[in-house]
């Protein structure tokens, strides 16, 4: 259809201006954003350094896994706590900077923001962990070795972010990541990565998962309480 033809059609089919539009639209409640739009809007607020460092960490872990056939597994496993540290510090950023009250006053609220960021970073890290595990021999076992320190650091980091205020919380979270990575190194020295000890790893993963789930739940609940106190 030609442009002139279309504009003639638009003119011929134009309706007289509505009379009650302004008053009606002013009275409408603010539109509730969809889940996807909340998640996408939050993706823009996650620091680029978080994504870059996450990518670099997983690339390093992948390189270790591929180039060090004997030590690749524990080396990759010892690096995942630092990815969890990135997730925790990003998730608790408003709390670490003392800005949670400001975020609570926004249209979405702290809870929705925290959930969206948690979902995004968690999904990306999970995808990277799956890729990393797939690159290692015995993928399922490797997945457990990688996921356990990640979840443990997540749980400890979230606990620290809830109990320690301000900048110190970052250092405590960093300390937790170093501690878990150190445990991984020690576990290798004690030959804990041997196939015979796998059931203990499974148990550790279940416990770490429970700790992380409880801490995520408490963190979200606390943000709900904060909104009531606000």
């Amino acid at each position: 259809m030609k442009k002139s033809e279309r504009s003639a059609l638009c003119r011929a089919m134009e309706a007289p201006p509505p009379l009650k539009k302004r008053a009606f639209l002013r009275g409408l409640p603010a539109p509730r954003p969809s889940l996807i739009s909340v998640i996408l809007s939050q993706a823009g607020y996650i620091r680029k350094t978080t994504w870059v460092l996450s990518g670099a960490l997983f690339a390093l872990a992948l390189a270790a896994a591929l180039t060090l056939p004997a030590d690749g597994l524990w080396a990759a496993s010892a690096l995942t706590p630092f990815a969890a540290l990135l997730a925790v510090t990003e998730l608790s950023r408003s709390r670490l900077h003392g800005m949670e009250e400001l975020e609570l006053s926004t249209r979405l609220g702290l809870r929705a923001v925290a959930l969206a960021r948690m979902g995004l970073i968690g999904l990306v890290h999970l995808a990277l962990l799956v890729i990393l595990a797939a690159a290692l021999p015995e993928t399922a076992r490797a997945g457990v070795y990688l996921l356990t320190p990640y979840l443990l650091t997540d749980g400890l980091g979230l606990w620290a972010a809830r109990h320690v205020r301000g900048r110190e919380a970052v250092y405590v979270c960093g300390g937790a990541a170093v501690l878990v990575a150190g445990l991984g190194v020690a576990a290798n020295a004690m030959e804990a990565y041997a196939a015979a000890n796998f059931r203990w790893w499974l148990l550790a993963m279940v416990l770490a998962m429970a700790l992380a789930a409880a801490e995520y739940h408490t963190t979200i609940q606390k943000s709900e309480e904060l909104s009531w106190n606000f």
Binding site: A8, M13, P18, K20, L28
Partner: protein, 151 residues
């Protein structure tokens, strides 16, 4: 993706106005469609919201149409200042009046409201191909009527 409420209101209002021929009835239908949509608890945004709003507005217009006979094409529209454009618009309006209401609806949605064929297909319960073909046929018919009216 959030929705431009004003744009959505204008499109629905134009749609209802051409089905009902009355400014007040069209606005009532649009506002009722928005109210029902918001009461459904769905987020405003995207093509699903627009499809819902059109469907409710269309049903409301049909109910209103059954209650009273609308004017086929309203006359109280602002006329362009240019004489040639005025004559062209009159010819076009005469040609539009000769089309079936369904054909006018297709042209309004596709070329005036600029809705995607997928949304129209969902609203009318037809395949995209059928909607495309019917829209093209309505456009050819409109052009033919305009040629007939040429001196």
């Amino acid at each position: 993706m959030s929705m431009d409420l004003e744009d959505a209101y204008d499109k629905l209002y134009r749609y209802c106005y051409h089905r009902l021929g009355s400014r007040e009835a069209a606005e009532d239908a649009v506002q009722e469609a928005f109210t029902r949509y918001l009461a459904s608890g769905r987020p405003l945004g995207g093509s699903a919201a627009m499809r819902y709003l059109y469907t409710v507005a269309r049903n409301l217009c049909t109910d209103e149409y059954r209650r009273r006979k609308p004017d086929p094409l309203p006359e109280d529209l602002p006329a362009p200042a240019d004489e040639d454009a005025r004559l062209e618009d009159m010819a076009l309006r005469d040609a539009l009046a000769k089309l079936d209401p369904d054909e006018r609806e297709l042209l309004l949605m596709r070329y005036v409201n600029q809705e995607p064929v997928s949304l129209m297909a969902a609203l009318l319960g037809q395949s995209r191909f059928t909607v495309y073909r019917r829209t093209q046929a309505a456009l050819h018919k409109l052009r033919a009527y305009m040629k007939e009216d040429e001196p």
